[in-house]
């Protein structure tokens, strides 16, 4: 049995993975809304861009606090290493931060009545930032796979999973905010609910791909590590929390809601998606470090 060491990344890093993914997801959805019909989907676009910036603000703080030598955080900008997802992630975070700030600023200018429509500028920033946003959501999964840890390195699709979680949690958070401010709720919320259901499907598919590929990796160490996730210390959090309550249940509620169209059900599904999205990232990071 090979002797390996764990990076011991704390739960705070899972919070970063969650917030970064949510911000990226919300930003992309806002950009699609702006692209398709900036006037009709104005509320979705506004909420998405504001939310992306809000969720993003704690991210660099979390990352800097977690460093062994926080004052050296700028050393991440010394290299550009395409083979290192952490290096690329640091650059993506910088690029996304710039875009999220500008997009939120443009939205604020519109809201304050300083400009009639800045849709053109928003689309430019949105498309560039959308690329960074997707990158920010996905790279932690690729980062985990590019290690020697048997669970993460043993399977495929963690990047795909993290991206889908970013999209589902982004849509869920936007739906909740839209409902809270209660404006033009029906149309926007219904769109986001469909988005949420579709992202959940990709999310569940990615989890299946990951678990099955670890199972088929043929590595004894990977199978042992998988057992901590599926039948060991983290199995309850994984099956009940991340899968049953966090993914399947909101999917069922979302599908039922297509007919019922009840704001209560949409809100419940959104909350469950947020909880499940955090848990699925948390449980994979935690089980991989045992």
């Amino acid at each position: 049995m090979a002797l390996l060491q764990s990076p011991h990344w704390p739960v705070l890093i899972d919070v970063y993975f969650f917030l970064g993914g949510l911000a990226g997801g919300a930003f992309v959805i806002a950009t699609v809304a702006t692209l398709l019909d900036s006037r009709r989907f104005r509320d979705i676009s506004r909420v998405g861009y504001y939310l992306a910036l809000a969720a993003l603000i704690p991210c660099p703080i979390i990352l800097i606090v977690d460093l062994g030598v926080p004052v050296r955080f700028m050393n991440m900008m010394r290299t550009f290493n395409p083979l290192s997802p952490m290096s690329m992630g640091a650059w993506a975070l910088l690029g996304f931060s710039a875009c999220a700030f500008v997009a939120a600023l443009l939205t604020l200018l519109e809201d304050a009545g300083r400009a009639r429509s800045l849709a053109g500028a928003k689309i430019v920033v949105g498309v560039i930032g959308g690329f960074f946003g997707f990158f920010l959501a996905a790279y932690p999964g690729v980062l985990l796979t590019a290690t020697a840890r048997p669970l993460w390195a043993g399977g495929h699709g963690l990047g795909a999973l993290f991206l889908a979680v970013g999209a589902s949690t982004g849509a869920a958070a936007m739906a909740l905010v839209l409902m809270l401010i209660g404006r033009r709720m029906a149309d926007g919320v219904a769109t986001l609910r469909t988005m949420l259901v579709l992202a959940l499907l990709i999310q569940i598919l990615s989890v299946v791909v990951f678990v099955v590929s670890v199972q088929g990796s043929g590595s004894a160490a990977s199978l042992r590590a998988l057992a901590t996730l599926t039948s060991g210390a983290y199995s309850l959090t994984f099956w009940l929390g991340a899968i049953a309550v966090g993914s399947i249940l909101p999917l069922v509620i979302g599908l039922v809601d297509f007919k019922r169209r009840s704001p209560g059900l949409t809100a419940l599904a959104s909350i469950l998606v947020l909880v499940g999205g955090f848990l699925v990232k948390f449980v994979i990071v935690a089980a991989g470090q045992v």
Partner: protein, 259 residues
């Protein structure tokens, strides 16, 4: 680049005196640690931020040619891989390759993200809570740049640890394997000597008397970064699906109003 330097650890010559481990501690001024109780003379269980050389004591029932218990000894160390997972993972450039082919961590640049700790296929790189940085064997960087061999190799009384140019040492090691096989050590094998093998070859390579896994070494270590390309493609696939999903979601609500 200068001719690649290497360390060849011939475990068949190791007597378990741990002079290498002590010499490493002393030269590199590594603090003392609370000992681990491992049930053997081995201390510690594994590499730490203050133990860069570690003599492993392994009891293998039936491991000797005549079927007796084999008491395997191995002085383990950072492998200074030609394709190093830690070096590729490092986002700050703190981990670098010297002109001699060794891998080193610049303690003035490392910011303690710990990605290298998770990326080492051998579990060598350790996080130091006091300095907040990643630590590992330096191949006695200060010594080799001043014409001296690493402290561990210098201290070894049986030449179990040999220091020199890599190409010379590989030839020597191959001869030694043949000798041992002729003596009846059927499992005698080199680990990491082949520069066309895993990780591009190890600049600290070993002669083992049993399967690598017996020593806690991976049989076929893999460069972690090899998965980056495929996983990126899968992520792009997921992004496209999400994008299509978004278009569907926005189109679907395009006409109707609902209550």
């Amino acid at each position: 680049m200068a001719r690649t330097l290497a360390m060849f650890t011939d475990t068949s010559l190791c007597i378990g005196c741990r002079a290498c481990q002590v010499a490493c501690k002393q030269w590199n001024e590594l603090d003392m640690e609370v000992p681990d109780w491992t049930g053997t003379y081995q201390n510690h269980t594994h590499f730490t931020d203050k133990t860069f050389r570690l003599v492993r004591f392994i009891e293998e029932p039936g491991g000797k040619p005549n079927g007796d218990l084999a008491w395997l000894l191995m002085s383990d160390v950072c492998k200074h891989c030609a394709d190093a997972g830690c070096l590729n993972a490092c986002p700050t450039g703190a981990i670098y390759r010297t002109e001699h082919g060794t891998v080193n961590i610049n303690q003035d640049v490392c910011n303690g993200c710990r990605y290298c700790v998770s990326a080492c296929p051998f579990g060598v790189v350790s996080f130091n809570e006091q300095t907040g940085t990643a630590n590992k064997c330096t191949f006695c960087n200060d010594r080799i740049h001043n014409g001296l061999g690493p402290a561990c190799a210098k201290a070894c009384p049986t030449e179990s640890i040999q220091f020199g140019f890599r190409d010379d040492l590989v030839v020597k090691a191959q001869k030694r394997v043949e000798t041992l096989r002729a003596m009846g050590f059927k499992e005698a094998q080199l680990y990491g000597a082949d520069s066309s093998g895993f990780l591009g070859g190890l600049n600290a390579f070993f002669l083992l008397l049993a399967k690598p896994s017996t020593y806690g070494l991976p049989d076929n270590p893999r460069l972690p970064q090899k998965s980056v390309f495929v996983e990126s493609l899968l992520s792009i696939g997921s992004a496209l699906l999400v994008g299509v999903g978004a278009l569907v979601a926005f189109r679907q609500r395009g006409g109707g109003k609902e209550g």
